[in-house]
């Protein structure tokens, strides 16, 4: 029983308390680059989550075989292998999404969340715990991208998941580059504001 509680906490920490994007500020490039719509954000999040889970699992399994000195290059090769798998799968089954996300799929290799979890968690925990950690972080990342994508799509083109709500033009700037920065800025500010208020209340 105790095991399942700790697994649950392990999963939830990635989603909320240590959310990779909003709290740890990792992996900002895809966060800003692909979130012009909710669907893109979801697709990118799912691809990254897959790589996170699989690479965490693989690294946790081989961690005792890898000499400490070449650990980082070895991790990168493992991650790159899973990214290649995702690249080929997406090119085959979701060509339209693949086209939209473009360069950001191969760039999952250098997403600091993936290498960060490999180094900070998978290299010193069991396979199951590492998978759960990867899943939590992946879900947290997907949630962040989905939130950002939804807000930007709503403000920028007045639609949700591609369905137009009102037949009018949105605020175009939100689907362009500056909109990404400003939306993420205000989301993080809101999170900090909520946290401050909680702290004041509890005192």
């Amino acid at each position: 029983m105790e095991q399942s509680i700790s697994l649950k906490d392990n999963f939830l920490k990635g989603v909320i308390k240590e959310n990779p994007v909003f709290v740890l500020l990792l992996g900002c490039c895809p966060t800003l680059g692909v979130t012009s719509s909710a669907v893109n954000g979801l697709g990118m999040g799912a691809a990254t989550a897959f790589v996170l889970v699989m690479s965490n699992l693989a690294i946790a399994l081989v961690k005792n075989v890898i000499p400490d000195k070449v650990r980082i290059p070895a991790f990168i090769v493992i991650i790159a292998a899973f990214v290649t798998v995702v690249q080929l799968l997406m090119a085959a089954y979701t060509p339209a999404l693949n086209e939209q996300l473009g360069l950001f799929i191969p760039l999952i290799v250098v997403n600091c969340i993936v290498l960060g979890r490999a180094e900070a968690f998978a290299s010193r925990n069991t396979a199951v715990a590492s998978m759960i950690d990867g899943l939590g972080m992946g879900v947290g990342f997907t949630f962040a991208l989905l939130l950002l994508g939804t807000i930007r799509e709503l403000l920028g083109s007045l639609s949700v998941f591609g369905y137009k709500l009102v037949d009018a033009d949105g605020i175009l700037i939100f689907v362009l580059a500056p909109g990404a920065f400003i939306t993420l800025g205000f989301i993080i500010a809101t999170m900090k504001w909520l946290k401050n208020r909680e702290n004041i209340k509890s005192h």
């Binding site: 490039c29 800003l32 290649t84 690249q87 920065f181 800025g185």
Partner: protein, 190 residues
């Protein structure tokens, strides 16, 4: 003329940080003061130009003849990691001064997505070797320009009286947004 267009469009119109969203991590992380920002920029110019030449040669003389272009991601990241190590060792021996200036930034560059991003973009755009080099120089100079401008604004921002929840990253992101809007003004230049 064609090279001039590549340079102008990569530095101003399609700025790698402000329009293409590559290299956001160093852009936010290493921009607290101008001198470190410029140091990081210089290291990126150096490594990006070299790595683009290397990956171009690897693509055209190893991966394509062998028919293993799908190994692109794995190979490129290894080439870049290897190159960064070699550059570090050579700089230490040949030019200790330059090593002093760039040394701390070099290990960070392996996971800087601008380097891998530009290496892949060059192949996607079907550039020849000279175009690739010009493209790499333009993009890395664009990165340096963006991070240098941003850091000088952030230095001023430290003195501003902001609400507590806006301090730090939120204010920096909103600044980046305004900078990005300013760069949109260059659209239509070529």
């Amino acid at each position: 003329m064609q090279y001039l267009i590549i340079i102008i469009s990569t530095i101003f119109i399609n700025n790698i940080v402000l329009a293409k969203f590559l290299g956001i991590c160093p852009f936010l992380g290493v921009s607290k003061n101008t001198s470190t920002a410029v140091g990081m920029g210089a290291a990126v110019v150096f490594v990006m130009t070299l790595s683009t030449i290397m990956t171009y040669l690897v693509q055209h003389y190893i991966l394509l003849p062998l028919g293993i272009a799908y190994m692109q991601t794995v190979t490129y990241i290894l080439v870049i990691a290897f190159l960064v190590q070699v550059v570090e060792i050579i700089l230490k021996k040949v030019s200790p001064d330059l090593y002093q200036a760039l040394g701390v930034y070099l290990p960070l560059i392996t996971t800087n997505c601008t380097i891998l991003g530009v290496a892949i973009l060059v192949i996607q755009n079907n550039f020849n070797l000279l175009q690739s080099v010009v493209f790499a120089i333009g993009n890395s100079v664009g990165f340096t320009l963006a991070i240098a401008l941003f850091s000088s604004i952030r230095e001023q921002l430290d003195d501003a009286d902001l609400p507590e929840y806006m301090e730090g990253i939120p204010a920096a992101l909103i600044t980046a947004s305004i900078l990005s809007m300013a760069f949109m003004g260059f659209a239509g230049l070529v």
